[in-house]
Structures are given as C-alpha cells and as structure tokens.
Symmetry: C4
Subunit: 189 residues, 4 copies
C-alpha cells in the first residue's frame, strides 16, 4: 500500500472532522445579542478544535511524507489515530454545552491525550517499518515537543477538577506551540 492512499484517506477523514465540527455549534436560538452570547463558548471551543485538527493534518502530512513504507502496523496505527480524532467533535460539543464544568474539560483533555498517544504510536510504527537508521528515526530524535504535549495534556486532565479554565489555557498553549510545523520533520521530508 502506498503512503499516498493512506494520506488521501486520512486527509479525507480530517477534512470531514474539521468541517462537520461546526455542526456541533447550534445556530443562535434567537436574533439578539443574548442568543449570540450563548453560542460564544461553543464558537471558541470550535476554534480550538479546528486548530487542533489543523495541527494534526499538517504534522501528519509531514510525518507520512517522511515515511518510507506502509506496513499493516502503520495502517492500523493510523486508523487508531483517526479514531481518537473522530471523537474530537463529540467532546467539542460537550464542552460547548457545559464549558464551566470540570468533567467535559477533562474529557476534552483525555481525548487530546489519547490522540497524542496514538500519534506517538504511529511515529513508532513508521520507525519500526523503516528502521532505526531511516531519515524519520533521525529526524524525530528526542521528541521534546511531543513529550511536552503529553505532559501538558495529563496536567489538563487533572487540573480540570481544580478549574476547567486552567485546562483550556493549557490546551490553547499546546496548540500555539504546535502551530509552527515541526522543523525537524520538515527538514527530513
């Protein structure tokens, strides 16, 4: 199986997730500013999720561009990542509805954490397929940003029970850290 087909399928899934998430934002139930204000939290969490999926799309593209071959392990690791990303619209809608509560914020953090873990597994599967001397193995090296994200997501899950707004601040910070595409993979691809 070529990397091209896996990329095309993954791109399709991510394009649908990013677009369809907007439907978790119920249109304002009224035509005044109050009704608009009520959907504001939904819009903000939609923007965060849009950035999250956009970041995965971008990094996923660089990752698969640097990958040499697709083994069954790589293919299932990729589907596993897409599974967790496909839960993002659900937690996005949940947080949009109950943004001031701890559990939805922790749920959002947990899905982010699982997606980050799935991405990590995908990187290992690709390195496993291409060998420790491959471009990708060297390019990844010590994955500081990836490890930092995992730690931050764990913190976002735990601190949601202190205040969900701490979680949101952490999630936004991680997104900002990733918006610049990973220089190391960029060089390798």
């Amino acid at each position: 199986m070529s990397t091209g087909r896996v990329e095309a399928f993954s791109d399709g899934v991510m394009a649908i997730i990013i677009t369809i998430m907007a439907f978790g934002v119920t249109p304002p139930q009224g035509a005044d500013l109050d009704a608009l204000g009520e959907v504001l939290p939904s819009l903000l969490v939609f923007a965060l999720s849009f950035a999250l999926i956009g970041i995965y799309w971008n990094n996923h593209h660089h990752l698969l561009g640097a990958a040499g071959r697709i083994t069954p392990a790589v293919m299932w690791a990729n589907l596993h990542l897409l599974f967790w990303l496909s839960l993002v619209p659900i937690v996005t809608a949940w947080v949009g509805d109950y943004y001031s509560e701890s559990l939805p914020a922790a749920g959002y953090g947990l899905v982010s954490l699982a997606a980050a873990g799935a991405y990590w597994l995908l990187v290992r599967a690709i390195i496993g397929a291409d060998g420790p001397d491959s471009d990708i193995a060297r390019a990844i090296g010590s994955d500081v940003k990836g490890n930092l994200s995992v730690v931050a997501y764990v913190a976002a899950v735990g601190l949601a029970f202190v205040s969900p707004y701490i979680s949101y601040a952490i999630l936004v910070a991680v997104a900002l850290m990733w918006i610049i595409p990973d220089r190391r993979l960029h060089r390798a691809s």
Copy 2:
C-alpha cells in the same frame, strides 16, 4: 473507467461514513459521570463500527488493487456494497440507543451480513471481469475467512433473540479476525 476513480469514490464514501458515525453519539446530556456513563454504550458500538468500516476500507483497497478492470457489473456491485455500508451509521445509532434489546442487535447483524454478501458479490464481479485465470481468482481461492464471516453474521442475527450480548461478542470476534489484512490478496496485489 479506471480502478483509481472507483477507489477514490469508495474511499471518499467510507471516510465520510467513518467520520460521520461519531455524530450518532449524542454528546453527554450533563457534566457528571452519570451522563458520561449513559453515552458509553454508544461509544463502544461506535468503536465497533469504526473498526468494521476500517476493515472494509483496508480489504477493499487490497481487492481493487488486485482488480484488473472495472465493468458496469463491478461498478454497480461496488455501489451496492457502499449502500449497505451507508446503513451502518443508522444501525450504530439504533444499537447505541437500545443496546440491551434484541431487534437492534439483530438489525446490526443483518446489515453486517448484507455488507459481507455485497463484498462477496463484488469479488465475484471482479473475477467475472478478469477471468478465472486472473491473479485475483487465484488469490481468493477458497475464501475461508469470508465464508466464516457470513456464518458468524447469520449466527449473530439469530442469537440476538437469545441475548444481544452474544451478538456483540460474535461481531467483535469477526472484527478481530479481519483486522489482520488478508495475506492472500496482499500477496496478489
């Protein structure tokens, strides 16, 4: 018509099904563990359906990769398969809502059975187009796994009326059996 276009269209449809199925999972109607617990069955059946479509995507890709040419019969057999797969989100939502009942479990089994039958028809249509001496005809040989799935799905439909949980166990077992991509086709493609 090239196999490429049929693959691209099928991939598009399966990418949409896999993604959009998540919308059958209503976000928790509350911010506590009870509300989360109520959506757990929906999440589990979503995970099963995600695996089911993922398996079809993977095997479909290997199948079309081994196919030589697309006749009208192949094209309609393919659309027929996509028709049954497009019913998966509906039975997924139905089982998510009434997971402890027999009829939804039987309905899920029936759609799985129809999709397996449609896949079987697609294989025959491709062999019919390429001839009995083609790579694909030899690669398929005696389709043990395919036949076993059909028997298992028939059992899942019938035993749902004893207990839906027996059906779910069978459906999960079939999914696990298929997660390893078919070695025979793999070799042929």
Copy 3:
C-alpha cells in the same frame, strides 16, 4: 482548469450527498418491529435516492471523461447540477416523513426534474466548449433517454396530485432505465 479537478470536486460532493442522506433516516425510535416498520418508508426512499445519485455519479463520470475542456460556462453548469443534487437529501427526508402525501412526492419529482435539466444544460455547455464536431457531440446525438427522463419527471410531478405512489413508480422506472451506463458515451470516452 483541468477536467480532473472538476471531476474530483464533483465526486467529493456526490460522495458526501450519498453518504449523508442516510442521516435523513432517523434510527427507529424503539426496539420493536413497529418502530422498525415506521422507518421503512424512509429506508426505501433513501434507497431510491442512493440509486439516483449513483446514476448521476456514473453518467457524470462518463460525460466529463468525454469532455475536452472546462470553460467557465461548463464549470458553472456543473456547480448548478451539484446545487440541485444537494437538494436531494432534503426532499428525501421530506418524502420519508410524509410519503403518503402528494406535495412531498411532487417536490421530489421537481428536484429530479431540475437535476435532469441541469444535466442537460451541462451537456450543452460541454458541447458548446468542444464544438459540434467533437466526440461528445456525436456521442450524445439525439438524447432519447435524457428526453424520456424529463418527460417522465414532468409526469411524476403532475401525477403526484393524483397519487404519490404513481410518482414513486415513475421515479423507480426512470432509475432502472439509467442503471445501465450510457452505451453511447461509454463508447466515446
């Protein structure tokens, strides 16, 4: 602009329409046969609409395969066709809800008629771009099947007010007539 991009975009839109239409079928609101019976009309009209879009996808593919170049007129004629096709899910859901009434059946017929008219316009736009001596102009010739469909759809709209079931019979008959891909274009492409 290449025909490839227009085909890819159109395929994407049709793949989404065909998949997402299944969401107009509300999952049964109960776990017994009565609840299942209530969604049966929705399932049948979904199957009809699935065939309708499948036919357009197939013929559209043959048509664009025979087209030489994409002018702005061709591009807008194509978007115009996609516009009417994107209304198919709405009339599908409407008929699914009120299948025994005249107006929804007439509405379904009207959208079918408009899509057929838009397809006719697209054919003219392509012939206009490629010239009267082009392969496509010769392949179309006197478009008996296309003209017959338009007449049948007009009848389906009108006769819906006698009985919606006459409309459904006509719509099914037209679909069956088109399921065999158009031999003339097939030869030209």
Copy 4:
C-alpha cells in the same frame, strides 16, 4: 509541501461545506404549501451560500494554480480562510431561522467579511512566498474586485441594522460580481 495537497484538502473541506449546508434546511414540517413556504427563506439563503462557497472554490483554485510554493505562512493563511468558510453553514442556518431580523443578517455579513479578509491575507502570503516579481503578484495588481467586496461587506454589516433586506441585496450583488472567474488570475495560471 506541494500546492496539490493543499488544494485537495481545501477542495475536500469546501465540498463538505457546500453539501452539508443543505442540512441547515430543515425539511418542511408538513406536507402542504404552508409548510413548504416556511422553508423558502432557508432555501434562498442556502442558494446564496452555495454560490458563495462555489465562488471561493473557483477563485481559490485559480489562486493556488498560480501559486509557486507553499510556506507555513501560506498553509496557515489557507486554514484560516477555511475556518471562516466553515462558519458559513452556521450563519446560513441562523439567517434561515431569523431572516427578518438585523443581527443574523449582520452576522452573515461579518462572516463573509472575515472570509474575504482571510482570502486577502492568503493572497499576500502567497505573494510573500513567491516574491514581488512573480506571476501572481503581477496578476493580482490592484485588486479592485477584492477591495470592492470588502467595502460592500462592511456596508452589508452596517446596513443590516437599517434593514436586513438591504444586506441580502448587497450580498447577492457581490456574489453576482464574482460568478465570472477572475480574468487576471485566469491569465496568469
């Protein structure tokens, strides 16, 4: 990263937006003309939004066809445009529900304005990547139509508070102005 992949992803997102927007049009809640009449405003605003996304798809295609290379700035400018376009279904549904009110019309105008601004930023990012002597920089020149659209959208936002129908007239006029693909980019691509 090639322009091809960014185009394919953007096309996918726009194909989904254009299709899925139809779901903001609730099927008529009844089978008589009154019920049909109630969804008419939703259908009209859907048609306007369909044209809007169709115009962006067309111009975006010409723009990326003329672009030389994709820098991170171009990629994020493109995602930023897609973000605003993905809000179009929400404001479409809002206006469909409350078409006679000022705030939804202003909201629609604001999203249109933000998308136009995002498109302008994308053009700048592409010129920044390709240099001031590139084909695209010359092709754009003084962007009369783009500037005119921004002015018109600002007016549509403000005048919505006089009457929403003035906004709709302006939005329709801007759409008509853009339906003819941009001759300058057409020449350069």
